[in-house]
Symmetry: C2
Subunit: 198 residues, 2 copies
């Protein structure tokens, strides 16, 4: 407690903001909510950050870093490229909670470049991984060569993000799984690998 550790409340504020951004989004996250959950007082917030916006931005950047790191782990490994794609698509997700980053796509704050940046970087990170796998699959002959890897990667990212939207609109996680299943069937049809299950 009396260790020489500066700003113990700063981390608590960031943690609370990260949770609330996922649960409620940016506009619906009030400074009061953050304070209650973090246990910090009003002063701490405005000492460490210029305001709600700056706090949210720092939180967003941490979230993006965490998620991109998690992605790297999924795409690591020596599996055949299309199986890595499949592994990403089948990844366990809490569909009803929505995408931790892209859930903010429809907030008015998204019109700010600074706010958009970490979210776009995250989507781009997914697309880059997918595209690399698709190219590798084309080179080793397991994926049809006439497809555009960038376009297919974008479509797959859209299936994931759209799947989150569907799960929430129907309030049924299975809807997201169904959409992903459809994407896998299409992908399977254009691949020449032995079927691995699905």
């Amino acid at each position: 407690m009396s260790l020489n550790k500066p700003s113990s409340k700063r981390a608590a504020l960031l943690d609370a903001a990260k949770q609330l951004l996922w649960e409620r989004g940016y506009e619906a996250m009030s400074p009061r909510d953050v304070l209650d959950r973090s246990g910090a007082g009003h002063g701490a917030l405005y000492h460490h950050f210029t305001g709600k916006q700056a706090l949210a931005l720092s939180a967003l950047e941490e979230i993006a870093a965490e998620e991109m790191h998690a992605l790297d782990e999924i795409f690591l490994g020596r599996l055949p490229p299309l199986q890595r794609v499949c592994g990403y698509l089948r990844r366990e997700r809490s569909a009803l909670r929505g995408c931790r980053l892209a859930r903010l796509a429809n907030e008015s704050a998204i019109e700010s470049e600074a706010f958009r940046q970490p979210i776009a970087a995250f989507l781009e990170h997914i697309a880059t991984h997918l595209q690399a796998c698709l190219k590798a699959a084309q080179q080793d002959g397991t994926l049809a060569g006439n497809l555009d890897p960038a376009a297919i990667a974008a479509a797959l990212v859209a299936v994931i993000e759209g799947g989150f939207v569907m799960a929430r609109v129907y309030w049924e996680p299975a809807k997201m799984r169904l959409a992903i299943e459809g994407a896998l069937q299409l992908l399977d049809s254009v691949s020449t690998e032995a079927r691995a299950g699905g």
Copy 2:
């Protein structure tokens, strides 16, 4: 002006609400905004509706009806089934504005069944049309028979909704088009029709 038309402000309120729901979403749409835009006074709103929620719900239902009707027109006609699917996917959209209905997926109000209903009905309407086309295509032999129409339809809906999200996150309408292009390439690869341009 002096015609015997009851509640002229009711329609104005609904119109304003329909616009604002698209532009800002539910929580960010304040009664004040609606009044300013509609030209109605405070009293008119609370006379015709019990409050903001009821107004938004009525507006949502009108929006869903309009959009479903527009869908019916797109899927009408005598084109081959896969070309109708293609026509829907290529439909002109204002990507940066987001989906008029599903843009509300991440508002906390979505947890209410009544709020969800018109939005889910809209997505279901799209999926139903798509699924019918895919089944027809399988029957006339232009689509691979091993695919599950329900899953493919869900995947295509997800591509559209996810495409909207991507366009807004990147603030680049082309991102949505790229995702749709990827879906079309996949669909094209599992169809046996002569290429119609892709």
